[in-house]
């Protein structure tokens, strides 16, 4: 018998895998946070994301970061720890920047709480020179993060690094981090984010679909 860390519902392990890796979320919550594994290339770098930034994920991350529910930190990567540990073996996780005031206010580093369970080295390489919340900015204002983010001095950078962040919407934070790392030479860089904005659905109406098929048929017929 297990208790869901988010909805406190009692549930039983359903999968053989659950006996090896104890689940922290019930199946309903896990489905609702919309697991969507994506590996793409972005700005010339491989980017991997695990969830879609949907309403339930949004609520969960808000509860974790703004309502200071530190216990939720372990639930996001609970089922992915082993996979990430194998995939990013020899890599160091470089955390997205936070301002010291925010960290003192919270009493914990949200990214450390999320990624510490993977068991790979974590490095705080960037910091913000003033309190600045990306989630409170709109549109072009989000580019302001580039002026706020700075590289910490006198820290040696490992050869294989993976930039990690919790949420990627426009990608401005990651762009700022990449921009600061450009002058430095290192072997490999990858990006890992927990959640990314959902890809926009292109809805094809039945008529449009039929037209498309008709066009294809005509193309084939007429060579």
């Amino acid at each position: 018998m297990l208790i869901c860390k988010y909805c406190f519902r009692i549930f039983d392990p359903l999968h053989v895998w659950h006996f090896l890796q104890r689940p922290l979320l019930c199946r309903i919550c896990y489905q609702q946070i919309e697991w969507h594994h994506r590996i793409e290339r972005w700005q010339g770098i491989q980017i991997e994301s695990l969830f879609d930034y949907g309403p339930v994920f949004q609520k969960m991350i808000y509860q974790f970061k703004s309502n200071l529910d530190v216990e939720l930190g372990s639930v996001f990567l609970n089922q992915h720890n082993t996979y990430l540990k194998l995939k990013y073996f020899q890599y160091t996780f470089v955390l997205a920047p936070s301002h010291d005031d925010d960290l003192i206010k919270r009493g914990f580093h949200p990214l450390v709480e999320i990624f510490k369970a993977v068991g790979l080295p974590l490095l705080i390489l960037f910091e913000k020179n003033r309190p600045y919340r990306q989630s409170e900015q709109q549109g072009r204002d989000r580019q302001g993060i580039q002026q706020v983010t700075i590289l910490k001095k006198s820290i040696s950078i490992p050869q294989r690094i993976c930039l990690v962040d919790d949420v990627m919407t426009t990608g401005e934070t990651l762009k700022a981090m990449i921009g600061l790392l450009k002058p430095i030479s290192f072997k490999h860089v990858k990006i890992l984010v927990l959640a990314r904005k959902k890809p926009e659905k292109i809805e094809i109406t039945r008529h449009a679909k039929n037209d498309k098929i008709r066009n294809w048929k005509q193309d084939i017929w007429h060579g």
């Binding site: 208790i3 509860q63 200071l68 529910d69 530190v70 216990e71 009493g107 914990f108």
Partner: protein, 380 residues
């Protein structure tokens, strides 16, 4: 032994207690956090009730009884059948409390019912500021009369002098200790509980706690509550029977609510009925435009609306008929069935209607609901 108990919601369940920087914190009520705010001082207001009709004698007696309870600082419980005019009963109490400069709240567990009630209260009390506080509308917290959902109660601390609590036994309030604690925390005066489906235990327990209980078994127009007609159709047969039933009801030119136990069944039924019937719509909790769907349906004089239990309470429509699809589903309790049946025949112009239950078998909940309706009708 875990010594920690939350000062806000009194939770002491070790599974709902977290540890942050070496200190315990409550995870049960962590979503309910409000920055402290200073309430404004209230002044007495003389208000006029604009009601187009007179209350029945039974309604007036209970209304006077509630005012006496208010004077004696005693909480009360009104157990009145669906369509008996519970909301109208409390108008007198609101008028008197406003005249004494008290803070009044009208709380309901369902957001849809809050949205439905705001214009109704504005029409009855046109000179006062009626404020609605619910998910998606919580920027203004104070007014002469605050109508809110139970989920918004955490925004208030020791605030309400008079709290009128409608549909106490409805989801999600029923069985949620955090919401119960939030309601108690927000109230400094009396609470008036209203429902059509209190159990005998609820009434006895409330009496023992020193509260006053009022009962009303008569609808305001004097006609009986429609009884439940169940039709036993096993397996897939009811999927065909419902089409025939809806054709018959459509011929009569009356709107029909089809209640379904889950969203998934609702979606399947919608796709199925859409093949045979033109005017079908679907409303459930997670659909974004549900408010507009319900409002559009209310403007109609016929048509079919498939819905989950979100519309089981607080909805009044002329000539409405009800079909409860898979009424033997374990999600349907006695009170749910009574509330659904109570949507029918609420208007004086058309006090009769049909409540049809399509079932595989007759459950104890269906029998209990039928018995309760028969008992209430026997008082006529």
């Amino acid at each position: 032994m875990n010594a920690y108990a939350c000062p806000r919601c009194l939770n002491n369940d070790p599974f709902k207690i977290g540890l942050r920087n070496g200190l315990s914190y409550c995870r049960a009520c962590i979503q309910f956090q409000q920055e402290p705010w200073q309430p404004k001082t209230r002044h007495p207001i003389a208000v006029r009730i604009q009601l187009g009709y007179a209350l029945t004698d039974a309604q007036q007696n209970i209304s006077k009884g509630l005012i006496n309870c208010y004077r004696n600082n005693q909480s009360a419980m009104v157990d009145a059948v669906t369509g008996s005019g519970k909301t109208e009963i409390v108008f007198g109490l609101i008028q008197i409390a406003l005249a004494e400069g008290k803070r009044i709240g009208f709380v309901i567990p369902r957001k849809d019912v809050v949205i439905e009630l705001i214009p109704r209260f504005k029409a009855v009390f046109p000179t006062i500021e009626v404020v609605g506080v619910f998910g998606g509308s919580s920027s203004i917290l104070e007014g002469d009369l605050v109508i809110l959902t139970t989920h918004q109660m955490y925004r208030y601390e020791q605030y309400f002098d008079v709290l009128i609590f409608d549909e106490v036994d409805a989801f999600p309030y029923a069985g949620d200790p955090v919401l119960k604690a939030m309601v108690k925390r927000a109230t400094k005066g009396i609470i008036i509980y209203l429902s059509a489906t209190f159990t005998r235990d609820d009434l006895n327990q409330f009496k023992n706690e020193g509260g006053k209980v009022f009962q009303l078994f008569k609808r305001f127009h004097g006609f009986p509550i429609p009884s439940l007609h169940y039709k036993i159709y096993p397996f897939f047969i009811k999927w065909f029977t419902i089409i025939e039933l809806l054709y018959q009801m459509n011929k009569e030119g009356k709107p029909v609510f089809v209640f379904v136990p889950t969203i998934a069944i609702g979606q399947m039924l919608y796709r199925w009925l859409h093949i045979f019937i033109k005017d079908v719509s679907l409303a459930y909790s997670t659909i974004e435009q549900r408010q507009s769907i319900v409002e559009d349906f209310k403007k109609k004089t016929s048509g079919v609306l498939i819905t989950t239990s979100i519309l089981e309470r607080g909805i009044t429509m002329l000539g409405l008929q009800v079909i409860i699809f898979m009424a033997d589903h374990p999600l349907y309790s006695t009170s749910t069935l009574i509330q659904m049946a109570g949507r029918v025949g609420r208007k004086k112009v058309d006090p009769e209607g049909k409540v049809i239950l399509l079932v595989n078998k007759v459950t104890s909940d269906i029998k209990a609901a039928q018995e309760k309706i028969t008992i209430a009708n026997a008082y006529l």
